[in-house]
Symmetry: C2
Subunit: 228 residues, 2 copies
């Protein structure tokens, strides 16, 4: 990878580190039990809070799960949905059941990320695209994920749950909605490739096949896209 | 900001650069017309493609808008929605109309980011949370945004449009859905603060007010959260 002469706020080494960080970030399911210290958690949540949001609405909320019983209840909710998902996958049921899809009981720190209630008052950028609030929360989670990886901390985003059941479990107000159970913690090792790629559940698509020029039906005309 | 002794893959300087990058990223509306070179665009799209996705479904698609007439048509769609949004904002209509909310005609490069069609076959992590496909696209866009800022390129995410009208304009297949018009390009300067904060449209919320411990109603118990 080569860079143009840098005229900006980041050095070539820093720019390279950003791409390397994105390439090394993984959706983790295997954790060490060591806790994360409060200052580190503050930095990670601070990274999330620096995310962009539609109309600057900042719709993200985070619940830090400290109570072991609550953690066990969240795990039970996820386990119930794991079984239902497996059944819905029909011929891939057995293959799915062999995957480790979460590390809720093992990770050092458990967070729930959610959409706040009262979002209907935010119209800017959402009149025709109300789901932009979720997009903002996802950007916050991606910031958290990247900051965690930079600090050598793994994260896994679990979405195998009934959102209404999780909302009630955490006593979230009506109109709010959980979007992620986030397992955070130190890890034995970061997977060299996405776990679902290693397990041959899915394969990486060629970026070129995902690009179009002007109209969807036209192929992209980008020069050679580097694979990372 | 202090860091623990680093035992990982990133140096303290690189970790600090990641946080600085997140703090300096802005939703830009003012651009210089200079084009971006193809190699740079490839790097930015490559960053997007390194994003996490639910069940590794990689639902993101990108349309690069090269035709000036198509760009003008997209601008017209956004302008129509800007007027409708202003009216929906009622007492804030005039204030909204004074904001510059997009740089579609000015920026060096225009992309449309979209959700692919055929997503209903992806059940993993989506049986109860179908919107996780959008979350994945948002993570890809956040990667692109951060990579762009690192490379001294500004980006603005515009969601002021009728998604069905934009879908038809770009000849996207049924079942696909545009999620962002992305203005990319060099900028006269990056805003020191979010433009909507500078314009006093909205203010930054205190992170502490967005954190809960165990249950939503309980306050967070984090130590002093650094403001960045």
């Amino acid at each position: 990878m080569s860079f143009d002469a840098n005229m900006g706020d980041f050095t070539p080494q820093e720019i390279a580190a950003v791409y390397r960080l994105m390439a090394m970030r993984r959706d983790m399911r295997h954790f060490l039990p060591d806790p994360l210290d409060d200052a580190l958690i503050c930095r990670l949540l601070g990274a999330a809070h620096m995310a962009p949001s539609v109309g600057l609405m900042q719709p993200w909320r985070f619940i830090r799960v400290r109570d072991p019983e609550l953690r066990a209840s969240i795990h039970a909710l996820v386990e119930a949905e794991r079984i239902k998902t497996a059944r819905a996958l029909a011929e891939r049921e057995d293959e799915f059941m062999r995957l480790k899809v979460e590390g809720i009981l093992d990770c050092g720190e458990l967070l729930v990320a959610a959409l706040a209630d009262g979002r209907e008052s935010h119209v800017f950028g959402r009149r025709t695209m109300p789901e932009m609030d979720l997009a903002s929360v996802a950007c916050a989670i991606q910031n958290l994920w990247l900051a965690a990886r930079a600090e050598n901390v793994g994260m896994g985003w679990v979405s195998l749950f009934d959102p209404e059941a999780l909302r009630r479990l955490i006593r979230m107000p009506e109109g709010s909605r959980p979007v992620a159970v986030l397992c955070l913690g130190y890890v034995p090792a970061f997977y060299p490739k996405p776990m679902l790629e290693e397990a041959k559940w899915a394969h990486r698509l060629d970026l070129k096949s995902m690009l179009h020029t002007d109209y969807w039906s036209d192929g992209g005309d980008l020069p050679e896209v580097e694979s990372r």
